[in-house]
């Protein structure tokens, strides 16, 4: 009894993608979504040792900000649960300390973005610190969440059923997501989310396609969309295997 899924990309980029999955139940789609948010571990700074902090913020506040900087996460198996990567920062005012000023001792773990401001330093203010990054789960702290905007919507089928009365003012008809028109997948952004732009003067019917969901996935730069999705599926698979083994005993 194996399910047949069919996946098709609508839009794809390194950090953001939209893809359609057919043959998936709402429950399973939600399981995948939740797993992407909470069960795919990422690297983040967890401990900071301040050498000098003469900025206007407390050590704890800066430690939180450093923790929230997205770091690239090496592929599975590269890092153990309690291994750490050390990053250091040394910025002297007047200047703004950015995530790009973090210097990592590991090629694989780097700030995913260079331009996240940490603190604005005035004359004679200085920030020097050493931070340890660890791998952990989004379940435990949002800084370890790899997916930042993960959701899904039904695929919507649009059908032209007739013409609108000739002298009637056209009303806008807003839909968001992806529509299917004669087998063609069209993101609604292409016609400004308004069906009256795409089908002027036509009467259309919109219906959800059963068990077809369009996922929108965006990562914080820790890894690619592909990695996030496959690792979410892996996490569900490994739990099912674990349960199977536990039941057999």
């Amino acid at each position: 009894m194996t399910e047949e899924y069919d996946v098709e990309f609508v839009e794809r980029g390194e950090r953001e993608a939209r893809f359609l999955v057919r043959g998936v139940t709402p429950g399973f789609a939600n399981g995948i979504r939740r797993a992407m948010l909470a069960d795919v571990p990422t690297m983040a700074i967890d401990t900071v040792r301040f050498v000098e902090n003469s900025s206007v913020m407390f050590d704890e506040q800066l430690a939180l900000r450093l923790g929230l900087v997205p770091l690239t996460t090496p592929p599975e198996g590269e890092f153990g649960e309690d291994e750490t990567v050390t990053l250091s920062i040394d910025v002297e005012g007047p200047a703004t300390a950015y995530s790009g000023d973090l210097v990592s001792n590991d090629e694989l773990v780097q700030p995913a973005d260079q331009n996240v401001p940490i603190i604005d330093l005035k004359d004679d203010q200085r920030l020097e610190a050493e931070a340890d990054a660890v791998v952990d789960y989004g379940k435990d702290h949002a800084k370890h969440q790899g997916g930042v905007a993960v959701g899904y919507r039904h695929l919507q089928q649009v059908e032209v059923v007739g013409d609108l009365p000739e002298f009637e003012d056209e009303e806008s008809r807003i839909v968001r997501g992806v529509i299917e028109d004669n087998g063609e997948l069209v993101p609604t952004s292409e016609f400004d989310h308004d069906l009256s732009n795409r089908y002027p003067g036509k009467e259309v019917e919109v219906e959800d396609v059963p068990n077809a969901f369009v996922f929108h996935v965006e990562t914080d730069g820790s890894f690619s969309v592909e990695e996030l999705v496959t690792r979410a599926a892996d996490s569900i698979e490994s739990r099912a295997t674990e349960l199977e083994d536990a039941v057999q005993l």
Binding site: T2, E4, V7, V229, I236, A240, T241, L243
Partner: protein, 94 residues
């Protein structure tokens, strides 16, 4: 994942699945309900701060002389296969 049976008869089983949350329990429940010999399946979780029973408890009722534990095993296999085929379909498209 630690299992603890809290109630068990020939056709009914209540089992605590420690360390899991809605992510896995809801998918598992869905797979159980697809099983043709399962007449009822549900799970209950309490919030972490509520104290007392906070681990999910899964309850399964079966018919047709099927052992609930066996149905649970079938459902686990089913979830595993779904996850694998989802990943394969995704990788094929990627």
């Amino acid at each position: 994942m630690e299992l603890r049976v809290t109630e068990s008869t020939d056709t009914e089983l209540s089992i605590e699945i420690a360390g899991e949350d809605h992510t896995f329990m809801n998918v598992l429940k869905g797979a159980l309900l697809e099983h043709e010999n399962v007449s009822a399946a549900t799970y209950d979780v309490n919030p972490e701060q509520s104290g007392g029973q906070t681990e999910p408890i899964l309850t399964i009722k079966t018919e047709g002389g099927v052992d609930p534990l066996e149905a649970l095993e079938d459902a686990a296999v089913n979830v595993r296969e779904k996850a694998i085929s989802f990943r394969e379909a995704f990788e094929a498209a990627a």
